[in-house]
């Protein structure tokens, strides 16, 4: 078991499967909220669906539509289960807030380096902790 300590930015506790992106993610032009899928052509996860997954990523890039697009995933029922990211920006912070899923950032170690796709993780947005099980 590995425990990453960070700062919770949206409260709530969930456990689920991790989907790790080593590249930053675009919202507008980068995801399709109708399907919860990454669509940026040159992205390592192009075509991959994040719905119901713990989305682990370095940070947000691109358009200021980021938060609105992730809010749309909540409204359309395709949101990720939780968000875990390395770097806080206005896009990722507001995006997590309006997606209303447990979110943790500002870690003591880089979650993108530690967590692997398929890992079972618990995201505790109340205490700012992420636990990687079975490791």
């Amino acid at each position: 078991m590995i425990e990453l300590r960070g700062r919770g930015i949206v409260p709530g506790v969930v456990t689920g499967e991790a989907l790790v992106s080593h590249e930053t993610i675009s919202g507008w032009g980068g995801i399709d909220p109708a399907t919860g899928t990454i669509i940026e052509r040159r992205h390592e996860l192009c075509g991959v669906c994040f719905t119901g997954k713990v989305l682990v990523f370095p940070g947000a890039k691109g358009s200021s539509g980021w938060s609105g697009f992730f809010q749309s995933t909540r409204l359309l029922g395709t949101a990720p289960l939780a968000m875990v990211f390395t770097k806080v920006s206005t896009k990722s912070a507001l995006g997590a807030v309006v997606t209303r899923v447990p979110a943790v950032t500002d870690f003591d170690q880089d979650p993108v380096e530690v967590i692997r796709t398929g890992d079972l993780v618990t995201v505790d947005g109340d205490r700012g902790i992420v636990i990687v099980h079975n490791r």
Partner: protein
């Protein structure tokens, strides 16, 4: 986060439920950022009117008050939306009436957006309908705190104008419009406005195309950091920096850059870094320039061009004039369309100056309010498009599933007239 007395009163409902919901969102958002306080803003640029699928559903079922509450305030409450507290403008949105019959954009969405304008205009939202508010009367001054979204406008406001705004989103600008407040974090603070990376161009950057390619390189290298760019740079104009900034905010997330001797917070290289210039220097040379060109042109196979797209970010009057000059007395290839996107205010001036007529006589179109990426439409049957915009070449292939060519304005107009892409570096 510490709230001032007026902010606490808003949160407690002294100004009504909509303002309380706005303050609640600002508190959740400010705490997520780790902000210590809010700051006052009197200039908000956001988005309210565009009929996105989620918004259209809300409007049909519950009306515009509810749509604003859910999308622009992230609130589940039911309340009336009051007049905006501070000057607020609508950025680019969906296509308007001028696109009906010209683009395949649905007439129903045009009608819903007209409803939105009728709702928001009287509530104090200036319908500028452009990604370049700074071209049509919203020109913040140096040091002015703003709450803007639209990444290309944010990077322009911070870097070229010296105004202070983070790259806000739909809900934070909505909340700012009803409160005149935004988290005092990031670009609002002096210590976060100095450069972090030194980038030197060793190849000349002195054309519109080269400013875009250089921006695309810079964004990819620094991601969300603050580059200071130097070297073989020509004197840029508004359109060059509009293109450069938009490109840095597409391949990366640049919100603030400095060009010593050109941009207002960088009278010198030392000033751009707040004292110490970093020892490490990132070089943009011939190899890097070619790599960017190949990346932007790595999304096309067929050289048969169906569609030429100009004006991203929205064209200046000079850009429209140049297109008119290049198209004077020529006709577009029968299988190829050319659209140039512009703010409606500048389209009015282009009409008055005779540019629109020349472009339309050649078979091209001057369209306003939107762009193919925002409205998710291109001419029917488009498989391959060409553009002079690094940002549009970056986004449109993913959004519409089409091939892209990137080049100079002259190459794009040539493709529109011949139907064939013949661009080269």
């Amino acid at each position: 986060m510490r709230l001032a007395d007026d902010e606490k009163a808003m949160l407690d409902g002294a100004e009504g439920p909509a303002v309380a919901a706005a303050m609640d969102l600002l508190v959740r958002y400010g705490e997520a950022l780790g902000a210590e306080r809010l700051c006052n803003v009197r200039n908000v640029a956001g988005t309210m009117t565009q009929p996105t699928p989620a918004k259209t559903k809300l409007v049909r079922e519950h009306g515009w008050h509810k749509a604003f509450a859910v999308i622009n305030l992230d609130s589940d409450g039911d309340f009336e939306i009051p007049h905006m507290r501070v000057p607020t403008c609508q950025l680019q949105h969906g296509f308007g009436e001028d696109a009906l019959g010209v683009t395949p954009y649905p007439a129903e969405l045009v009608r819903i957006q007209q409803d939105a304008e009728a709702f928001y205009g009287p509530r104090g939202v200036n319908i500028l309908a452009t990604c370049t508010p700074y071209q049509v009367g919203n020109l913040p001054v140096r040091g002015e705190h703003c709450a803007w979204m639209e990444s290309s406008a944010v990077v322009y406001a911070n870097s070229v104008l010296g105004a202070r705004t983070n790259c806000e989103g739909t809900a934070s600008t909505g909340a700012a419009s009803l409160t005149g407040k935004i988290p005092c974090w990031g670009n609002h603070l002096d210590e976060n406005r100095y450069g972090t990376h030194l980038i030197e161009a060793t190849v000349p950057v002195d054309s519109f195309r080269d400013w875009g390619m250089f921006g695309y390189f810079v964004g990819e290298v620094v991601q969300e950091n603050r580059p200071v760019v130097t070297g073989a740079l020509g004197q840029p104009d508004l359109t060059d920096l509009k293109h450069f900034g938009a490109a840095t905010a597409s391949s990366g997330g640049v919100e603030l850059y400095h060009i010593p001797g050109v941009t207002p917070e960088a009278p010198t290289l030392e000033a751009a870094f707040g004292g110490t210039v970093p020892a490490e220097k990132i070089v943009y040379g011939e190899r890097e320039r070619r790599r960017v060109y190949e990346a932007l042109n790595g999304q096309g196979e067929s050289s048969d061009v169906d569609f030429v797209l100009l004006g991203c970010p929205h064209a200046s009057l000079d850009q429209i004039a140049t297109v008119a000059r290049l198209l004077e007395g020529r006709r577009l290839n029968p299988g190829t369309e050319l659209w140039i996107m512009a703010p409606r205010a500048l389209r009015t001036m282009a009409d008055r100056s005779g540019y629109t007529e020349i472009i339309e006589r050649a078979g091209g179109r001057v369209l306003t309010d939107s762009c193919p990426a925002m409205s998710r439409v291109a001419p029917k049957g488009t498989r391959v498009f060409a553009t002079d915009s690094a940002k549009q070449a970056h986004y449109l292939p993913a959004i519409l599933g089409i091939e892209a060519w990137f080049g100079t304005l002259e190459e794009c107009v040539d493709a529109a007239v011949t139907g064939v892409w013949r661009g080269e570096l």
